[in-house]
């Protein structure tokens, strides 16, 4: 495993509501190896997006980061001033969002928006910025770039908007790119094209990629590592190849069993119950009420994150056995 480019340590992020603090992240610890693609998966409400927004320090009130550290290239992002953070955002860490069309300013042309980012971060202006924009748009495999630079977001398809967003993010050659459900809003064929594009760019530029998704197919397509989140903490972390063949956390195992496959006939299995209420969490392991392997101790004690092998961490007292 290479040196981590990003290290999240004991991160707590909560949202203050009239009925109490919703603790969305509860001591999340996660290391992102440099130059690799890490998938963060989990059900809705498991804290995936809040993790991304916490890294970027984009949590808005009533949300707040209560404690923890986010070390990026050795520096704690949470300790930086807002001004220093503005220099990190876009230049070092970039992010693409779920709704590509909504992420672009509707009243500015694509060329203007690209030129603004390039001017701000790279210092190129006028013709040089336009030339660089064309180059970036070609890199994300967009056709007819001259016409595109003059187009407004509403004239583009969702997939094109997402490619423009990716081009915008590449403008400053960031070390880390976070893709938050970047392909969810796209139709399946476009989804695959964007995934292949991301995979190519990751290899070509040595990007570190954090891919947030609830779609395990996306992870299989793109990621070398997988972090499974449940109720605001890490449930399992391992190589993608290992997770798919030998999941050790019962939750991961059930999640994989829920995937529709060609072989499956009839009704798909479901995980009984729902994601726990983050205001009133169950005692002990947050997954125990839904777990098929739960025993008495699971309701009483919170399992620690244990390293089964140096590269496979699981938060469970009774991990699934590896088939011999």
């Amino acid at each position: 495993m290479t040196e981590p480019v990003l290290q999240i340590e004991d991160l707590h992020t909560g949202f203050d509501t009239p009925s109490g603090t919703v603790r969305v992240l509860r001591g999340l610890t996660l290391a992102i190896p440099a130059g690799q693609a890490v998938g963060i998966v989990g059900e809705s409400g498991s804290g995936k997006t809040v993790t991304a927004l916490s890294i970027m320090r984009l949590i808005r009130p009533p949300g707040r980061i209560a404690s923890g550290r986010v070390l990026f290239q050795g520096r704690d992002l949470l300790a930086l001033s807002e001004l220093e953070m503005e220099r990190i955002r876009g230049r070092q860490i970039a992010m693409i969002f779920q709704q590509p069309r909504e992420s672009l300013n509707p009243v500015l042309s694509v060329g203007t928006q690209m030129a603004m980012v390039i001017e701000r971060h790279v210092g190129l202006t006028g013709g040089a910025a336009a030339a660089r924009s064309r180059e970036l748009l070609r890199q994300v495999e967009l056709p007819d770039v001259d016409r595109l630079l003059r187009a407004y977001p509403h004239e583009l398809s969702g997939g094109m908007c997402q490619r423009v967003m990716i081009a915008l993010c590449l403008a400053c050659a960031p070390a880390l790119l976070i893709a938050d459900e970047a392909t969810t809003a796209l139709d399946v064929t476009v989804q695959l094209q964007v995934l292949r594009l991301l995979r190519r760019l990751q290899a070509e530029f040595g990007l570190t990629l954090i891919v947030i998704t609830h779609n395990l197919g996306v992870v299989a397509e793109l990621c070398q590592w997988v972090a499974v989140m449940y109720a605001g903490e890490l449930a399992e972390f391992a190589r993608a190849s290992e997770i798919f063949t030998t999941p050790r956390h019962p939750y991961t195992a059930r999640l994989l069993a829920c995937r529709p496959t060609r072989a499956a006939v009839g009704e798909l299995p479901v995980i009984p119950g729902a994601v726990p209420d983050l205001v009133m969490l169950p005692s002990g392991c947050p997954f125990h009420p839904r777990c098929h392997r739960a025993q008495a101790v699971c309701a009483l004690e919170h399992p620690p994150l244990a390293a089964l092998t140096p590269h496979h961490h699981v938060r469970c007292f009774f991990p699934e056995e590896v088939p011999a």
Partner: protein, 281 residues
């Protein structure tokens, strides 16, 4: 693609002949204001007791008032003053109100509360009474007239921009703009404010007509510009005493000018609303 956008506007206009009428009327008014010295038959300040209170006729199409001013020439010059007041007052209200509303809507919290409670105070007064009070306190002059009308209309723009920003600040591109390293003032000024301007421009056009009415009203009761100045409101008030004795033309023609200008702004405002709101096309 800017050309494409203009073509879209052109297409919208063709389907909306009333807006063209409004634009034509406003264009004529502006032309009159600019060309007043060339079009006027006499100096608007020149008095001639010998021809006082003559009805419209050859050489004096709108007649003369008690001082022997040529009303036609004064109505032409009046377009200058009243259009300046309308543009100035709406400009003051739009810029100040827009910025206050933007800051209130974007930052939220206590600053939002303070700004909006001040706007509530301004709106608690009947519009004309407030303008009257401010104009009376500042003293009668063209600048003060603009300030008074501008201040009374400021809360409208503040509310409009604030309400747009409340939704825009949580929009995807606001978050995206921050995530590529924009400081919040840049997000506000470059990305959010331009996106909230369409309803503001509609309001500004409609408001211009009202501003002329208010300016004329304040001048009518002596709190705007002063008597010999060729301003439409002043001219109406100069003709009021003569109305009962049958000298209708003294007040009628400046009144007509006010009506034409207010209607032209309203037509344009309505047309803009249709043009900028795709649901009303």
């Amino acid at each position: 693609m800017a050309v494409g956008r203009l073509a879209g506007v052109g297409y919208g206009l063709r389907r909306n002949p009333i807006t063209i009428v409004g634009l034509t009327m406003l264009g004529a008014l502006i032309a009159v204001a600019v060309l007043a010295p060339a079009l006027a038959l006499r100096d608007p300040y020149a008095t001639d007791p010998a021809i006082a209170l003559r009805p419209p006729g050859p050489g004096r199409p709108f007649g003369t008032d008690t001082f022997g001013h040529d009303i036609f020439s004064r109505v032409l010059y009046g377009a200058r003053i009243d259009l300046i007041v309308a543009a100035g007052a709406v400009g003051v209200a739009l810029v100040l109100g827009g910025l206050l509303g933007a800051v209130a809507g974007y930052t939220g919290g206590w600053l939002d509360d303070v700004i909006m409670r001040i706007m509530d105070m301004l709106q608690a007064f009947p519009n004309f009474i407030l303008a009257l009070g401010i104009a009376a306190a500042l003293g009668p002059s063209l600048t003060n007239l603009i300030i008074a009308i501008g201040l009374t209309n400021l809360p409208i723009y503040a509310r409009l921009v604030r309400s747009r920003l409340l939704t825009l600040r949580v929009s995807g591109f606001a978050l995206a703009a921050v995530s590529v390293g924009n400081p919040s003032w840049r997000v506000l000024l470059i990305h959010l404010l331009p996106n909230s301007l369409a309803p503001v421009f509609i309001q500004a056009t409609l408001q211009s007509g009202w501003a002329i009415l208010q300016a004329a009203g304040l001048s009518f009761i002596g709190l705007g510009v002063r008597v010999p100045t060729p301003e439409w409101g002043v001219m109406i008030s100069m003709g009021v005493q003569q109305l009962t004795s049958g000298h209708w033309w003294v007040s009628f023609f400046p009144g007509l000018a006010i009506m034409v200008s207010v209607i032209s702004f309203n037509l344009i405002g309505d047309g803009l609303q249709d043009l900028l709101d795709p649901r009303r096309r």
